[in-house]
Symmetry: C4
């Protein structure tokens, strides 16, 4: 843990520490330079590899045969990520702000389980939290169209959020009333052992998942379930309609042949250095994705 923050300062005495820190900063936090892009792509694959390692370790047949290899790999990845975490703290312009930012905390949480597994066996399963770090490296895709797509998707979802909240509220109330009714009608022998379990069944049914672990057996229960399903049709249509409408209305009718130009942000101020989100309005104080402060 001490090595990363200690190693950069003594390097290259001819270069002053500030310039080195700036260079590390650009490579680690930005994606515009070739070095930064290379770093992000390498990090992306490293994270994928480490997550696959953890996932494989949970498969018993694999763990029995390749357990040692996988543990060694895990410590190797954790060491690399520890160095990277140290470099991030070292080079961040506002260190505390990075540490308490969304991705700063994720970066730390992605390291802890391996170290904790020395004391508490089983903790390393939590390492899948590293998958969340993948969100960060999506910024490497920014220079291509992909990022514009992700942004327009996020925008459509964000604008639809109030409508979706009302919708989720309505779904929960319906699930509560129907779940309680089924608890009264079907009783314990059909699996409706409590009102919360009835609500679980109602949500499984309305979302058309339909496991079948709990299913109505009486005629009245089946009739009520059939009504709920047809109702679920209409309910399912609502979020789809909302999101469709948002996407349609924000990309109305493209003039034929016009490419969807993604304007290049030529200034640094619009980017969040904690998560890489872009397109912040000029006077923005906080990142609209991760909530950390924007310079």
């Amino acid at each position: 843990m001490a090595s990363p923050s200690a190693s950069p300062p003594p390097a290259t005495p001819g270069l002053d520490a500030g310039a080195l820190r700036d260079r590390i900063y650009i490579v680690i936090f930005e994606a515009e330079t070739p070095g930064g892009k290379l770093f992000d792509v390498a990090l992306l694959w490293l994270i994928v590899a480490s997550v696959v390692t953890v996932a494989l370790e949970s498969v018993e047949s694999v763990a029995v045969r390749h357990g040692t290899t996988l543990r060694v790999l895990e410590w190797f990845y954790t060491a690399l990520f520890s160095v990277e975490y140290g470099l991030r703290i070292y080079s961040a312009r506002r260190r505390l702000r990075y540490v308490v930012s969304f991705f700063g905390i994720i970066d730390l949480l992605a390291l802890l389980p391996t170290y904790l597994s020395l004391f508490l066996p089983g903790m390393h399963t939590l390492l899948v939290i590293r998958a969340l770090r993948l969100l960060r490296v999506f910024r490497v895709l920014k220079v291509v169209r992909m990022m514009g797509e992700a942004h327009s998707l996020l925008a459509a979802i964000r604008i639809s959020l109030p409508k979706i909240s009302v919708f989720v509220g309505a779904v929960v109330i319906i699930a509560l009333v129907v779940g309680a009714a089924m608890y009264l009608i079907e009783g314990i022998e059909a699996g409706f052992t409590s009102i919360p379990r009835g609500m679980y069944w109602a949500i499984v049914t309305m979302t058309t998942v339909g496991y079948g672990d709990i299913a109505p057996k009486t005629d009245l229960g089946q009739f009520l379930a059939a009504c709920l399903m047809v109702l679920g049709y209409g309910i399912l249509a609502v979020p789809t309609g909302i999101v469709s409408a948002e996407i349609v209305s924000h990309h109305p009718v493209p003039p034929p042949g016009a490419s969807e130009a993604v304007p290049e942000d030529d200034e640094d101020r619009a980017m969040c250095h904690a998560c890489g989100a872009m397109d912040h309005p000029t006077g923005a104080n906080f990142c609209y994705v991760c909530g950390s402060a924007v310079d």
Copy 2:
């Protein structure tokens, strides 16, 4: 039960009873004043808490340990709601109209089970009907955008209603014909014990819920089921398309930067005092949400 209707009149002799009644009316039935807003938010949380209490009581492991606490809480909530119901009747401008309105009946039904549970054990499960009262307190959200969203959702659904009726009719006819066919093809050993049960299976399949408690076993039955599923694809697309089209056509292409202004209703006549719904046309006689008369 007697206390709420009795307590308000003797209070504050310096104030005449009509002014007090008006003040109570504004706090309980309206959401524009700070007092009214506070009352609605408090009621919202009280209802949520009482519903959670009833739900928890149905979980056996919780009921065994905390049964007495939960029963006491239930009586506490019921007492509060009884006082509120009394105050509503006392302050309502047209008392009988409130009592027989949609929310007047819900308010009463939300009280009865606790009292009835003194004579008939098990009745208090019906208390989840209190969840329906949550619909009332949605009006507290009116002053924020949320209400506009709920209204535009309701409008889209209401306009689509005739199309949706035809659609539900078609679904029922298909379910009947296919359900009867499966009853003939599969017979009792596969779970198709009657035509209504076959219809239940057809609806479970068409809505893509698919419990699997009843599933075709013969080749012909599985072929018919596969056809029904692919048909279900198209059927599922219809309500989604209808609702999407309505939402799109009623919010066409917003000019960029324009906020969706929710016009303030500056006059009282447009609001339903039974359920809080707004935007009634000038000459409206009945509330378009709850059906109670509008002044």
Copy 3:
């Protein structure tokens, strides 16, 4: 069977047979006059009642207790429908054309099972075919908005038909390839006993029905199934998108306040007398709904 065709001619000697036949024709085949509307509504409820009778008879507990009542009712309904069928043949302008039209055949098929059940027990279950006759009485709704809605729905589906055919073809090819792959991977012990059964599973999965009666058990099979499900997401989006797009493009943006006027067809030529479909183009030779010839 002989009674219906025999009874009308001898009636009311003061009225010539042609005028009576015309009057019967208007009542039975058209829905514009009060008598025609009344007839259609009565027929609608009679069909619903007869279908409910058949459905109830299939429920064993009901059949044991009320079997005789239900059989009597069934013969009563069949007698009424036989009379109606006879009157339709008698009054139809082109009798053979009616008999071989879509609804002419349905009308006959709806009668046969009861008579056949005298010789072959169990045949009366086929009586649910009467439900298809409900399609005919939808024309009674024509004078209200409902019919316009049903027509615009049908129009959207009809225009989307070529796209939907390509889509269904693609679904069947994917189901075939994936089903055969799962048959090879999973084998018989997981329920994939043949390629057709594998296709059945693939369709159950792609349509997100997911009974669970057949489910992959090996790692490779589950991986392939997960890929098919995510693919199914995209596949599911296609018919929804098609139908949505049709509905949106045919009801673009209604000018606010404009009622969706359903133009009255003031001439008889535009209506199909076999099924009641309307809005045929002026020179149409065949009904676009049931395929029978139009005058």
Copy 4:
């Protein structure tokens, strides 16, 4: 295998070999002439018949009774397809290009299993790969509207591809995090035996397939599952919305009465001779459907 490539050259000495080769080319690779159309339709039905033969052979009850017939048929179809493959190589303008093109490889793969089954029993099940050849004969439908439809569908999907990639990435990350959480919460007794299996369950749930072979049993697991399902609602809406929006925006509002004219391609250069795709831009080097080079 030797016969097809050997037979054409010695035929009809009065006709020079080049003209014959051109004529075969036109019949086999193009669909504009009557002979070409007939060939494509015959091929379509032959492929369907051969695929049905393979599928039937996998059904045990059928294989026992008609096994020999089916094997003979299979060799008959394989012989015909071998001749066709030889003729394709013989007449193709650039032979190597055809052999290594997408459809060239499919054509070969569709032959191999029958020959390999002489040495390795069970290989002939792979013959369902012939179903992929059906994609080729879709070009016969080109002259009708159908092809235009398939193209506009493909275009909508292709344009949506970047958005869909981001979407699939998000689904996989959510499945990973939730699957790992369920592996920790539910453990082995509920079927969550490893993180990959947890991911499989998460995808089964999010796509609303819901087999029920793995289902949460603990309260916390069921709560998390319910959240995932409601989230799945929103997730399901995204691809639907994307595809809908594309379809809507590319077929905006057709002027009433305007037929969607499919422009006839009067020049040969626009068609891919490997897969029959059309509408390549004038200077195109590669087919946008199958990737093989365009003249």
